[in-house]
């Protein structure tokens, strides 16, 4: 029997972090920002069916970047958590903060105890109501959770994209302006992303749906082209 080599814990963590970061950097990024009527989430995603942005509950949306199968599993777990909680208690009792904490705990646990960390970053967004502000929780692969006030950027090139969004960001801008800025930030100086390469969804107050409580809405194709024109 061969003796396992001793590896310092610092080295183990560093290796895992590097591994996860590399995995996330391979994927494309996502921007979420508040605007005058709610929260807009924009992701670079050429697929029409494999979504990065999804509905969790009435006022809660999910965004994921990195490895699709890993963040999609987390998305489904989020829907299950929210629906079970809303059914057992009441729809008002479902909130983003507790879900974000669960994600953070799970990601942190996997990062320290499992062989392979999850190569994902997660966004949990909640539309504010009755004086409660909009909330954006950004959860990193190792379980770090940050509460962003104005906007959040997830993905490989987050630092540069964050700089670009920060430079353009205005309080209470309208949807069209916010989407254009998000597109410019995701595109960078060398290219312009067409509307077909973007996945966009909003959580908005007064979105005109028949069942008024569900605020999540995807914006696709023609409508998106109009907003970006």
């Amino acid at each position: 029997m061969s003796m396992p080599y001793y590896v310092a814990p610092e080295q183990v963590m560093k290796d895992r972090a590097e591994y996860a970061q590399k995995g996330i950097a391979r994927g494309r990024s996502l921007v979420a920002t508040t605007y005058d009527l709610g929260i807009a989430i924009v992701a670079e995603n050429p697929s029409r069916s494999l979504h990065k942005i999804s509905e969790i509950y009435d006022r809660i949306a999910f965004g994921g970047v990195g490895k699709y199968n890993e963040y999609d599993q987390l998305r489904v777990a989020g829907v299950r958590h929210a629906d079970t909680k809303g059914y057992a208690y009441s729809r008002e009792d479902v909130d983003a903060r507790s879900l974000a904490n669960l994600y953070a705990q799970y990601l942190g646990n996997v990062f320290t105890h499992e062989m392979k960390p999850l190569e994902v970053e997660i966004l949990v967004a909640e539309l504010g109501s009755d004086g409660r502000p909009d909330q954006l929780y950004h959860i990193a692969y190792e379980g770090t959770i940050t509460d962003e006030e104005r906007f959040a950027v997830l993905g490989g090139d987050a630092e540069t994209i964050t700089e670009r969004v920060a430079a353009a960001w205005q309080a209470d801008w309208d949807l069209s302006t916010a989407l254009k800025a998000a597109r410019a930030a995701l595109s960078g100086p060398d290219r312009v992303l067409e509307h077909g390469a973007l996945e966009v969804a909003t959580l908005s107050r007064g979105n005109g749906r028949v069942e008024g409580r569900r605020t999540f809405r995807r914006i696709a194709d023609e409508e998106l082209a109009l907003l970006l024109a």
């Binding site: 069916s49 979504h51 999804s54 509905e55 969790i56 599993q73 987390l74 489904v76 777990a77 989020g78 829907v79 299950r80 958590h81 629906d83 079970t84 909680k85 809303g86 059914y87 057992a88 507790s98 669960l102 994600y103 705990q105 799970y106 749906r209 028949v210 069942e211």
Partner: protein
């Protein structure tokens, strides 16, 4: 509460009831068997509900009375609910069971939609409801029967469709109209006499109102319009634009017109 993650072999998929069963079971508690046959009258019962097709979709309506034996348990109970954007469910039978079944059904449809990223077909929804009715069979044997009506707009075919159920979960598609509950027979006869194919929305709403009026006239467990408290039947329209309720003022106005017509016909 931990994050509900499952190993692939026991993943409940988009099934919310399955998920509840695998979680801690707290939320899905059924009362222990007992009580025996005839336990029914000790708990509130919901009565007459009707559904009929019109040119653009379906109308669903229900009276507002719940009874407990010979006592009126509730005067303003709601028996017509949106199941999701394009379908409605109405209930007759043991009120507590029925309202809970509707709540579970609503969550199930939304849960499926969110997990799968697509909505169930109208027939899929009708089958789901049948399974829930069947799961209640044990309670039905003890007198807590739930008999729903399900109707919706089939977005794939562009027509309204109606499904009725029996206590064993059997479900049958009805071509034009259906009614269930204690006053269901009278309501059905009324609709049968007044029904025409491709009625307009207004004609269909009037016919639904008349059917509930006639049912309340013959059946003590069905509530008529309550002019003193201003309580009128709930009437929902489901068409290509989705589910919406007919405003209460409009229902009151149409009841007024119906009463005036009946008075003038009797005077002749």
């Amino acid at each position: 509460m931990a994050l509900p993650l499952f190993p692939p072999e026991s993943d409940p998929g988009p099934d919310f009831v399955g998920l509840l069963r695998q979680s801690d079971g707290r939320a899905l508690s059924a009362p222990a068997p007992g009580g025996g046959p005839g336990a029914g009258p000790t708990s509130p019962h919901a009565t007459t509900v009707v559904a009929l097709r019109f040119a653009d979709g379906v109308i669903m309506a229900g009276d507002r009375r719940a009874t407990m034996g010979n006592i009126i348990a509730h005067r303003a109970m709601e028996k017509v609910f949106p199941a999701d954007r394009y379908s409605a469910v109405a209930i007759a039978g043991s009120a507590g069971m029925a309202v809970e079944m509707v709540r579970l059904f609503q969550v199930q449809l939304e849960h499926y939609e969110k997990v799968e990223g697509t909505t169930l077909s109208l027939e899929g929804k009708a089958n789901q409801l049948a399974q829930m009715v069947r799961q209640n069979l044990g309670m039905a044997m003890q007198g807590f029967v739930v008999v729903p009506l399900f109707a919706g707009f089939d977005t794939a075919r562009g027509i309204g469709r109606i499904f009725s159920y029996d206590a064993t979960g059997g479900h049958y598609e009805d071509t034009d109209f259906q009614a269930t509950g204690s006053g269901g027979r009278d309501a059905r006869s009324t609709i049968k006499l007044g029904y025409r194919e491709s009625m307009s929305r207004d004609e269909a709403v009037d016919l639904a109102i008349q059917s509930l009026y006639e049912a309340a006239d013959e059946d003590s467990a069905t509530g008529g319009p309550d002019l003193v408290r201003g309580i009128y039947p709930l009437i929902a329209v489901v068409d290509a634009e989705g589910y919406r309720l007919v405003p209460e003022e409009e229902v009151a106005e149409r009841f007024g017109a119906l009463a005036a017509r009946i008075r003038s016909e009797r005077a002749q």
